[in-house]
C-alpha cells in the first residue's frame, strides 16, 4: 500500500511542502538529531568499544604467554581463551576485535554528535547503517560458529552481539525518516530486536543445556 497523501515521504521531494522544514528530503537532507537516540548510541558504542579493546588486549596477553588465562575464561562454556585462538576469531587474517575498535569508535562519535544536537545528513546515517549491517551479519556468523562449531561462548564477544543489533536498529531508524510507512517499519524493527535476542538466548540455552542443567 502506498500512502499518496503522505507529503513527508523522504525519497520524493515536494517543493510545496514547507510546513515540515526539518523533515528529511533526499539523501543530502539533514536528519534532525534526537538526544535519546544519541545517548543510546553513545552508550552502546562505548560498551562495544570497551569489549573490543579488552578482547584485543587479552589477545596480546595470550600471544606473549600461551598459558595465560584470559579474564573471561570462567568455565568450559564461558571461555574466551578457547574462542580467541580459533580461525573464526580472525576472519580477515587479523583478530576481529581490531575491526570492532575502529567501527565502535565511529559509533561513539556519531553518538556524541547526536547527543550534542548536531543534525547529520541522511547519507551519513545510511553509511553507518550499511556498515553496521555488515557488522550484524558478522555477529550472526560468529554466534553460529561459537555455538555449533567452537562450542564455547566468549563473554566479551557476546557483549558485541548485544550492542551491534541495537546500533543497527538505531541507525536504520534515522535513515527511514518520518513518513508513516517509515515509522511503521521503524516500529517493526523494534519488534524484531528483542525477538532476535530471545532467539540467540534460547539457542544458547538449548545448545549448552547439559552444562546449564548441572548448575541448577
Amino acid at each position: 500500500m502506498t500512502d499518496t497523501t503522505d507529503h513527508r515521504d523522504g525519497t520524493t521531494a515536494h517543493p510545496e511542502d514547507a510546513e515540515e522544514p526539518s523533515a528529511p528530503r533526499g539523501w543530502a537532507s539533514v536528519v534532525p538529531a534526537s538526544r535519546p537516540v544519541g545517548v543510546a548510541m553513545l552508550l552502546a558504542g562505548a560498551i562495544g568499544l570497551l569489549a573490543a579493546a579488552t578482547l584485543t588486549v587479552e589477545r596480546f596477553h595470550l600471544l606473549v604467554d600461551p598459558n595465560y588465562t584470559p579474564s573471561c575464561s570462567i568455565n568450559p562454556v564461558l571461555s574466551c581463551g578457547s574462542v580467541m585462538v580459533t580461525d573464526q576469531a580472525a576472519i580477515f587474517g587479523f583478530p576481529n576485535p581490531l575491526i570492532g575498535i575502529a567501527a565502535f569508535s565511529v559509533i561513539v562519535v556519531t553518538g556524541v554528535l547526536a547527543t550534542a544536537g548536531i543534525a547529520l545528513p541522511r547519507w551519513y546515517w545510511l553509511g553507518q547503517t550499511v556498515g553496521t549491517l555488515a557488522g550484524f551479519v558478522m555477529v550472526n556468523w560468529l554466534a553460529y560458529q561459537s555455538l555449533y562449531s567452537i562450542h564455547a561462548l566468549c563473554p566479551y564477544c557476546m557483549v558485541v552481539w548485544v550492542v551491534t543489533p541495537l546500533i543497527l536498529v538505531l541507525s536504520a531508524g534515522r535513515v527511514l525518516g518520518s513518513s508513516r510507512v517509515a515509522s511503521e517499519v521503524r516500529g517493526w524493527l523494534w519488534v524484531l530486536l528483542p525477538v532476535w535476542y530471545v532467539i540467540v538466548i534460547v539457542a544458547i540455552g538449548v545448545e549448552f543445556w547439559d552444562y546449564w542443567s548441572t548448575l541448577i
Binding site: P194, V198, G205, V206
Partner: protein, 241 residues
C-alpha cells in the same frame, strides 16, 4: 478514567498510534513465545531417555532382561538364564550357535529367557569395555523396554556380538556404542552411555550372578553344560513339563 477516554476521542491519531503499538507488542510476545517453545521442545526431546536413577527398572529382581512369550509379570515353568559378557569371544560363539534356538524358545509361552550381561573381562580391554558395553545394553533396555518389549535390546545385543572387539584392544568407543544403540532403534541414550549411568548396577549384577566364566547357561537356576542347540532345546522343553 473519564479524562482518559475523552483524550482518545479527541486525538484519533494517538489512538491509532496506541493500537499499532499494541499490535507490535503482541507480535513480539507471540514471536518470543514461539522461540521459547521451540527451545523447550528441543531441550525436552534431547533429554536422556533413561532418567537419572541408577537402577534398571525393566530388569527382573535377578538383574536379568527377561524375554518371554508368557504374560508380563508371570514366571513360566522353564527359565533359561544366559549369563554373558559382551567382551567374551565364547559368548559371541555361543550366540552364533545357540541364537536360533534361543529365539525359538523366546516365542514359547512356557519359557522365559533371562539375559544377564555381566562384566568380568574389563582387564581384557584398556577401556573397561565389558562394563561399558553392559552399561550401554542396560541403557538401551531402560530406554526402550518399559513396555516389556525387548526387541530393540535384542537387536543391540546382537549388534554388540557382530561388532565384538578383539580382546586386548581398546574396545568400541562410547560413540560407537551410541551409534549401535541408535541403529538398533534406541534414542537419547548417549548421556547414559557417556556417564556410565548403570555402572554400579552392572557391578552388582556381576557379583550376584556368581558366574566365574561366560557364557554360563542355567535352566531354572541350575548350571547346565550343553554341547548342541538341540540338547538345550530338549532340556528346556523337558523343564516345561
Amino acid at each position: 478514567m473519564a479524562q482518559n477516554s475523552k483524550k482518545v476521542i479527541v486525538d484519533p491519531r494517538k489512538a491509532e498510534k496506541r493500537r499499532s503499538m499494541l499490535i507490535r507488542i503482541g507480535a513480539a510476545v507471540a514471536l518470543i513465545a514461539i522461540a521459547v517453545g521451540i527451545g523447550l521442545w528441543a531441550v525436552l526431546s534431547n533429554e536422556s531417555s533413561t532418567g537419572s536413577a541408577s537402577e534398571v527398572t525393566v530388569a527382573t529382581d535377578d538383574n536379568a532382561f527377561r524375554v518371554t512369550g508368557a504374560p508380563a509379570g508371570s514366571t513360566p515353568p522353564a527359565v533359561v538364564t544366559v549369563i554373558e559378557d559382551f567382551q567374551c569371544p565364547a559368548c559371541a560363539q555361543f550366540e552364533q550357535q545357540f541364537g536360533p534356538v534361543l529365539a525359538e524358545l523366546r516365542e514359547n509361552p512356557n519359557v522365559a529367557v533371562d539375559y544377564t550381561p555381566i562384566a568380568i573381562l574389563d582387564r581384557m580391554s584398556s577401556t573397561d569395555y565389558s562394563t561399558r558395553a553392559a552399561n550401554a545394553s542396560a541403557c538401551v533396555a531402560e530406554s526402550t523396554a518399559q513396555n516389556g518389549d525387548f526387541t530393540t535390546w535384542l537387536q543391540f545385543h546382537d549388534k554388540l556380538y557382530a561388532q565384538q572387539p578383539s580382546e586386548g584392544g581398546a574396545g568400541l568407543t562410547d560413540d560407537q556404542l551410541n551409534n549401535l544403540a541408535t541403529e538398533a532403534g534406541a534414542s537419547n541414550v548417549r548421556q547414559c552411555i557417556d556417564d556410565r549411568q548403570f555402572e554400579d548396577w552392572v557391578a552388582d549384577t556381576t557379583q550376584s550372578a556368581g558366574a566365574t566364566s561366560t557364557p554360563t547357561v542355567r535352566i531354572n537356576g541350575e548350571d547346565v553344560q550343553l554341547s548342541t542347540p538341540e540338547a538345550l532345546r530338549d532340556a528346556v522343553l523337558a523343564a516345561t513339563n
